[in-house]
C-alpha cells in the first residue's frame, strides 16, 4: 500500500464515459506524466470517506468539469468548508467534504477548486474540441504557476 508521504492531494472528479465530464480525469492524466510530488486520486464522485483521506493532507485541489461558462475556459478558486448538504450523497460537494473533515477530524486544509468548462456530456468517450482546448489552457497554467513552483496559495487565480 502507498504511504501518504506527500502533503498535497489532487482529486480528479468525473466520468470519462460522458465526454467532457472526464475533464477532471484527463487533467490528472496530464499531471501524472510529470511525476509530480503530489498524490493523485481519480473519483467518479466525491464520497464521504474522502473526508478521512483529506484529513491527512495540508493542500487539496479538486478538479472537475463545469457547465457554466467561464472566461478563459477554466478557473482556480479557494474552496472553504460549507454546511451545504447535498440532495444526493453520491455527489458530495467539495465544500461539504471539507466541512465533514473539519467536523470529524478537526482539520482544515488549504483547498482549491479547479473548474474546467466543458461543452458536451453525451455517453461517449472523448473530450469535445472546446473541452480539450480548455483542458490544455488549464494544464499549462497549472504547470507554470503551481507545478513548477511546487506550492499553492489559497487565493483566486
Amino acid at each position: 500500500m502507498k504511504k501518504l508521504d506527500h502533503n498535497t492531494i489532487i482529486f480528479g472528479i468525473g466520468n470519462n464515459g460522458r465526454q467532457d465530464d472526464g475533464l477532471g480525469w484527463s487533467f490528472l492524466a496530464l499531471v501524472e506524466t510529470e511525476s509530480p510530488p503530489f498524490d493523485l486520486e481519480y473519483r467518479y464522485q466525491l464520497q464521504i470517506e474522502d473526508a478521512e483521506l483529506i484529513s491527512k493532507y495540508e493542500n487539496v485541489i479538486f478538479v472537475d468539469a463545469c457547465k457554466t461558462k467561464i472566461e478563459g475556459g477554466f478557473k482556480l478558486y479557494p474552496c472553504v468548508p460549507e454546511d451545504n448538504y447535498s440532495f444526493s450523497t453520491h455527489a458530495l460537494a467539495p465544500e461539504t467534504i471539507l466541512y465533514i473533515t473539519k467536523k470529524l477530524y478537526n482539520h482544515e486544509p488549504n483547498a482549491q477548486i479547479l473548474a474546467i468548462q466543458g461543452e458536451n456530456w453525451d455517453l461517449k468517450i472523448g473530450l469535445s474540441n472546446i473541452g480539450e482546448g480548455n483542458l490544455v489552457k488549464a494544464y499549462e497554467y497549472f504547470k507554470d504557476e503551481i507545478l513548477s513552483k511546487n506550492f499553492i496559495l489559497n487565493k483566486n487565480y
Binding site: M1, G14, N15, G17, R18, D20, D21, Y42, R43, Y44, Q45, Q47, I48, E49, A51, E52, D64, A65, C66, K67, T68, D83, Y85, S86, F87, S88, T89, H90, A91, L92, T96, Y99, I100, K103, L104, I113, A115, G118, W121, L123
Partner: protein, 484 residues
Amino acid sequence: MNSRKIVIEPVTRVEGHGKVTIKLDENGKVDDAFLHIVEFRGFEKFIQGHPYWEAPVLVQRLCGICPVSHHLAAAKAIDQLVGIDPDSLSPIATKLRRLLHYGQVFQSHALHFFYLASPDLLFGVDAPAEKRNVVAVATENKELAKKGILMRKFGQEMIKALAGKKIHGILAVPGGVHKTFMPDERDYFLDGKQIPNIDTMIEWSKEIVDFMKSYHAENAKWIDSFARYPSNHLSLVHKETGALELYDGRLRSIDARGKELMNIADIEYSYHFKEAVEPWSYLKFPYMKEYGRENGWNRVGPLARINTCTHISTPLAEAERKIFKAYTKDFPNNMTMHTHWARLIEMLHCAELMKELLLDDDIMGNDLVRKGTTRNKGIGIIEAPRGTLIHEYHTDDKGLITKCNLIVSTTHNNEAMNRGVRAVAKDVLNEKPEITEPMLNQIEIAIRAYDPCLSCATHALGQMPLIVQLEDFKGNLLDEKVRS
C-alpha cells in the same frame, strides 16, 4: 374525475435521479402514485458489436456505486463464452472473486446505512431537511460517522487491492482472474496497522446490528407498519443447502407467506421471467411468467435474501438471522423498513466471509485462469447489494456481442417501490390540505429502503437541483419549488 399532481424531482439520497408523482383527485385524496425512472439504459445496445472480453470492463460504466457487481455478473457470463461454468472455474479464482464481491457488498451496505438511511432513523421523518443528511450525522454522531467511514473504506480498500482501483477496476478475465493476492496485501487487512482490521469490522458490524435491534425495539410501531405490504421474494440461494448465497446459486422465489413459487437453475431464468413496460417509466417490470404480471412480481435485495434462504453459513450472522426470523415467527418478513435490519445482518455476514477468505492461503495461489470449448451464449447472475442482477450475452462466431440483456436489481424492485410509494402516499397524504416536507420525505424513505440505483448521470459542478412541482389534472403547473 378532476385530479392534480404533485411532482418531486429528483428523489433525494438515492443513487441517481427519479421523480415521484402523486396524483390527487378533486377532493384532495390520493388517486394514484408513481415512481418514474428516467435513467438511460443504452448499454444493452451500446455494447453490441464489441468483443465479448470487453463486457466485464464496459458494463461497469453503468454505475459508480456498484461497478463490481456488474463486473462480476458480466464475468460469470463471459466465463461461459470461453467454456467455463461456475463449477469449472479454479477454486482460487472463485475465492478471489468472492472476496472482491464481499468487499463490494460490505462497502455498499455501509454506504447506504450510514450515509443514506441513518439520517432518517437518527433524526426522524419530521426533522427539517437540513438535518436529514449525512452532514448532520457527522456533526451530531461523530463516532458513528467515523466508524461508517472506516467500514466503507475497508470495503473500498479490498476492492482496490483486488481490482487495482476503487471504481471501475478489473479483477476478472474470461475464465478466471488476472491477479492473485500478495502476502503484504493480506497483512494490510489483518494486522490493523494502517486501517482497522477485519476483526474490528466484524465487531463494528455486530455493534450496528445491535443498534438496529435497539432502534427497532423503541420504534417498532413505525418501523413495522411503514410502507408494509405483502410480496413475493426472490434471490439466489446455495445450490445444495439453500443458505444465503451472494455469488452463485439457484434462483428461489417464495410468496408472502413462505410458499415456494420457483426454484430453478440460474441459467434458466429467461424461461421463467418476462418484463412488462409502462408508458410512464423507462424502467421495466419483471415478473414470473407462471404467475402473471399482477401476482408474479418480486422484491429483491437484503430483505428478500433473508426471507428466501434457509440459513446463513457464518455463525454471528446466523444468530442474528434467527432473531430476525423469530420476530415474524419464521414467516417471511414483509415489513419494508426491516430491509435496513436485513442489510446490516448481511454486512456482518460479509465481514465474517472476508475473514474466512483472508485466512485461506488459497487466495495467494496461482491457478488463476481456465479455458474450455467456446460457446455463443453466457448468463451471469449474482446477488448485488441491492438484489438479483442478471447479465446475458450472445456472440457471433468472431466473438462479437450480438445481443445483451441486463436485468438490474432496481428493475426487479420497480413494482415493489411503486407499491411502497402508493402505500405511504395513501397513508400520509390523504385528505391533508397541505403537502409538507416531512410528508414528502416519507415517500422518499419508502423508496430509499430499497437503496435504488437509478444510474449515474453527468455530475458537473453546479448541477444538482431539487425541483418540486404541483400540477393540475390538465398538467398545468400550479406550484414549483427548487432547492439547490
